[in-house]
């Protein structure tokens, strides 16, 4: 899929991915790839700054996990504000998809 088409939707995708539960950056990238059957194979470099931006905006929070073995990882989770924002993004997307779908379905001809 053309990455240009995703502009403006990246935040929605990230918030929706983290709605399933906290995850670290690389797991978020993989989840997006898997849930979209590889259609959304985004350049990794766009994901981490976007996660940071959402964190600065208060929609995500991040904490370091300290496993007994293995590397420390920064784990991201939705904040209550992020959950509200996701609801708004979802409603906006559904309205948008309905509106565009009405044209693409070609059900109603143009008035004469």
């Amino acid at each position: 899929m053309n990455p240009e088409m995703l502009k403006g939707h990246l935040d929605t995708i990230l918030l929706a991915t983290l709605a399933d539960g906290p995850a670290h950056g690389y797991a978020v990238i993989q989840a997006i790839r898997q849930r979209s059957d590889g259609s959304l194979d985004l350049p990794e470099g766009t994901i981490y700054p976007a996660l940071h931006r959402l964190e600065l905006a208060g929609l995500l929070r991040s904490d370091w996990t300290s496993p007994s073995e293995g590397r420390r990882k920064r784990v991201y989770a939705l904040t209550p504000a992020g959950l509200v924002a996701l609801g708004e993004h979802r409603a906006n997307w559904q309205r948008f998809a309905r509106a565009v779908g009405a044209f693409l379905d070609g059900a109603a001809p143009c008035p004469a």
């Binding site: 950056g25 981490y48 920064r74």
Partner: protein, 209 residues
Amino acid sequence: MSGLSSGLIDHYLADLQRRLRFDHRLAARARADVEEYLAEALDGADTRAPGPQAALARFGSAADMARLYAEAALPERLRDTLRWLVCLVVATFLFMRLRTMAMGLADGGSAWLALADGAGFGLGALLCGLAWRVGAGPAAQAGRLILWAFVALAASAAANLLRAPLRLAADASAADLALLLASGALQLGLLIFGAVQLQRMGRHLRLLA
């Protein structure tokens, strides 16, 4: 990992940090994110694991990454700078009032300095208000307003500080001198801190230009 790969990664990380050196916290964050990504991406458990060169290529150039991180952090930078500017407006007003009341600056003295003092403060406060309004809009515009607000407030502070010694030259008391020196030093400190903040904001905006 081979020496060549390690050198490639070190060069990438150093380049990224150099580009973001105006904000040490942001630079450290970007570096930590890239290191975490590379550690995961190059992990042998991942069957899609690319080599370091391919992993870095998928991540994007250091210049692109620095730009993306700078974009992400810009609203926070503008909010911080605006908060500091509001503090500067309040401090300038309080020191101006304090010196005017305690030293009788309202009576006599240089008319030009009095004009620069009052007009500079009024203009600075006005521009600060405008910058606050456009804060969420175009960053370059907000940056310019913040810069001019700072210049106006600095002119006001300088004029007020010059008025005091001229007024006190004839009959300065120890208390007046102490007030002048203490408030002047505090105001100067605030202005220097502000100039540093402005310089960082300028470098941040230039990276995105």
